[in-house]
């Protein structure tokens, strides 16, 4: 009897092993798609608001797992391991669930995820054609804005692609500085609304354009931040946005071109985004009579970039990007305008579409920006993905 049971157990175990093998092929069933991104670099100098340091370093080392949970939900988990000052930090960049079967083109996402505002923000950093996000992203969104919250989106049943959505987030990383820990922040700080339209322009080209609005309840600065510059220094390696305001407006577009729409050999990608951040100055009623923040300087901060990337052959691609950001630094009794301009050229070699080695030249020109001087920076970087073949966004 015992022997029989043992045998049956053996058969059952064999069946279990077999069935695991059978489903292992398809990530859409019970087996999750697991992938990792390895990234390393050498950079000749430090860049403002960047997570990269001078010399050798590891970038976003990322492990991701995703699968359909059941017929209603999809889930994804992305853990990021970063090195800062000799310390290893484990961060969660994504941990979300998304509905799969809501009617009328609706879908909901909840948990931690990348906000769908702008063009680049919901793309993973390792798919970028340059080593760092544009200065505007680094200044206003902490390179890429991900947070804990919910999203509701809708896709219209039209031949012209039209999507729109609203999001609500905790907004901790988007809070204005609070060095005295005495500010009463709202627990749900960020609301966004976005819409995108897109389509094809002939057989060779495709385009998308979007408008986004981000409301940041905790984005306005408070008075008496005398050591603001010092605070910045400390937060240099965090994911927090460094220049915030109550209202942020983003306009974005992207155009992609490939001969006959065939992306195998050559293709061109042109994209640009414009940011405007307003309502960042401390409210008048909070100010002492002697202070005069409101009258001096611009009452908005802005930034934009324009990027063109051309894949010359399956092995080589080259990119050119110009971007600038203009922010206002709060000092004792007034705001100081500061500006950063970046011109970047990158050349990348791809052995397959899973491996990239990139050489990048950056010319940065700052006027009063975090005290940086004009500089030429060389970055050598590799980005490689292993494991499951992820699907890329447009």
């Amino acid at each position: 009897m015992t022997i029989l049971t043992m045998r049956l157990m053996g058969v059952a175990a064999a069946c279990a092993i077999f069935s695991i093998n059978a489903v292992a092929e398809d990530s859409s069933l019970t087996n999750p798609a697991i992938s990792a991104v390895l990234e390393g670099y050498y950079q000749s100098a430090e860049r403002p608001m960047s997570e990269r340091v001078e010399g050798f370093g590891l970038g976003h080392t990322e492990v991701a797992m995703s699968a359909n949970i059941d017929d209603m939900f999809y889930g994804k988990l992305t853990a990021v391991i970063e090195m800062h000052d000799g310390e290893t930090e484990l961060g969660l960049e994504e941990a979300f669930i998304q509905t799969l079967a809501m009617p009328y083109g609706l879908s909901m996402r909840a948990g931690r995820f990348l906000s769908d505002i702008g063009y680049l923000n919901n793309q993973h950093v390792h798919t970028d054609a340059f080593s760092d996000r544009p200065a505007a992203y680094r200044a206003f969104l902490g390179s890429h804005y991900f947070d804990d919250g919910v999203r509701l989106s809708y896709v219209a049943p039209t031949d012209l692609y039209w999507t729109m959505g609203v999001e609500a987030f905790k907004g901790d990383n988007m809070r204005a500085a609070d060095e005295h820990n005495e500010r009463d922040f709202k627990s749900t700080g960020v609301y966004t609304a976005f819409t995108k339209i897109g389509g094809d322009a002939g057989i060779n080209g495709s385009w998308q354009a979007g408008l986004s609005y981000l409301r940041n309840e905790n984005g306005r600065m408070t008075a008496e931040e005398h050591e603001y510059a010092a605070v910045l220094e400390e937060h240099e390696h965090s994911h927090s946005a460094q220049y915030t305001g109550e209202n942020t407006y983003v306009a974005d577009f992207v155009y992609k071109w490939a001969p006959n729409g065939n992306y195998k050999y050559q293709h061109l990608s042109i994209s640009g985004e414009f940011f405007r951040v307003t309502d960042f100055k401390p409210l008048e009623e909070e100010l002492d009579e002697n202070d005069a923040y409101g009258d001096e300087g611009k009452d908005y901060q802005d930034g934009w970039y324009l990027s063109g990337v051309y894949q010359l052959s399956p092995h080589w691609s080259a990119g050119l990007r110009y971007g600038q950001v203009g922010t206002q630094l709060m000092l004792d009794d007034h705001f100081d305008p500061q500006k950063l301009k970046e011109t970047e050229v990158s050349l990348a070699w791809h052995q397959s579409h899973f491996s990239t080695v990139r050489l990048q030249y950056t010319n940065q020109q700052g006027s009063n920006f975090d005290g940086i001087e004009d500089d030429n920076i060389i970055t050598l970087q590799y980005v490689m993905t292993l494991g499951a073949h992820g699907a890329h966004q447009f």
């Binding site: 219209a156 609203v166 094809d200 065939n262 447009f394």
Partner: protein, 307 residues
């Protein structure tokens, strides 16, 4: 200017509700909405459901491995009642993104309006274990199966069942269309085989395993691949080794697909004095290929011309 965020959200929701109402109204136009990943399945759907509104995500001039999950495709998939794709991971780099972004519950799983051709038949070259150092290979076998007439007929039969499942009201019509298609197709197969007899046993150098099923069916032998590894474009050292292989003198021609670059093939063809044949990868790959029948005719004619 201070915008009240709550009021902003309510207004957003109202706009949303309005577009919803409009959307459902415009969707009420009769006829099945079919999205296909490749043009061969658009052509097959055309045979079985001629009244449907059919859209192909790619053309025969585009590499189906590398397609952008672009806005127009999301918009088309959003409206689809049925999505037909080759499967076997051919579309793994873009189809899941389209499904996610289009938020169309109908084409989410193969239990409903999603159909993978490769799941209906036995694919060639299935692998027990796959390693990236082998290149971009598919463990589930070669997905370019539309050049095998018998396998394609099997797919047509399964697709008829799927059409019936999605649109039961027109079941009799789909069945009648299948019978008509099968008859014409079964008549054509021996005709093609007779015509292609002189190709039997001939050796060719080809790009990727794009025409594996065609060669397998007609008895051609692919002795070398222009790609050093699947998905990796021809390198000069690899081309040099192909040249020495070609100099053995037993190779009939170099074959590439309509979306593949002629550069490596032309280089080799010139030096090895071999003809370079550009075969239509699918319907629309050349002027002659307007449906599945003329696609097969054209491919066989082009191969025969090189002999």
């Amino acid at each position: 200017m201070r915008i009240n965020s709550k009021r902003f959200l309510t207004r957003g929701l109202k706009v949303l509700a309005l577009t919803l109402a409009l959307g459902t109204a415009s969707n009420a136009i009769a006829g099945l909405n079919i999205f296909t990943c490749e043009p061969e399945y658009a052509a097959l759907a055309q045979e079985l459901a001629p009244d449907a509104r059919i859209y192909s995500a790619t053309t025969a001039m585009q590499d189906p491995h590398q397609v952008q999950a672009r806005p127009s495709l999301i918009a088309k998939m959003r409206q689809a009642d049925l999505a037909i794709c080759a499967g076997a991971d051919l579309e793994i780099g873009w189809l899941p993104m389209l499904q996610m972004k289009s938020a169309n519950a109908k084409v989410r799983s193969t239990d409903q309006g999603l159909f993978f051709a490769a799941e209906q038949i036995d694919t060639l070259d299935q692998m027990k274990s796959v390693n990236r150092s082998m290149g971009d290979v598919h463990a589930k076998g070669n997905p370019h199966l539309h050049f095998d007439p018998k396998r394609l007929l099997g797919v047509a039969e399964a697709l008829t069942q799927k059409l019936t499942q999605v649109d039961p009201g027109s079941a009799a019509q789909y069945q009648a269309n299948l019978v008509r298609f099968s008859q014409r197709w079964n008549d054509a197969i021996p005709r093609w085989e007779e015509k292609a007899k002189p190709l039997k046993g001939k050796k060719i150098i080809a790009y990727h395993s794009s025409f594996k099923y065609l060669f397998n069916w007609l008895g051609l032998e692919q002795v070398a691949d222009l790609e050093p590894k699947p998905g990796i474009p021809p390198s000069s050292s690899h081309l040099a080794s192909l040249l020495s292989r070609a100099k053995q003198g037993d190779v009939m021609a170099i074959v590439i697909a309509s979306y593949q670059s002629e550069r490596g093939a032309d280089w080799l063809g010139e030096r090895a004095e071999l003809p370079v044949i550009v075969l239509p990868m699918s319907v629309g790959g050349n002027e002659q290929s307007v449906d599945l029948f003329s696609l097969y005719e054209s491919a066989i004619d082009l191969l025969l011309a090189a002999k």
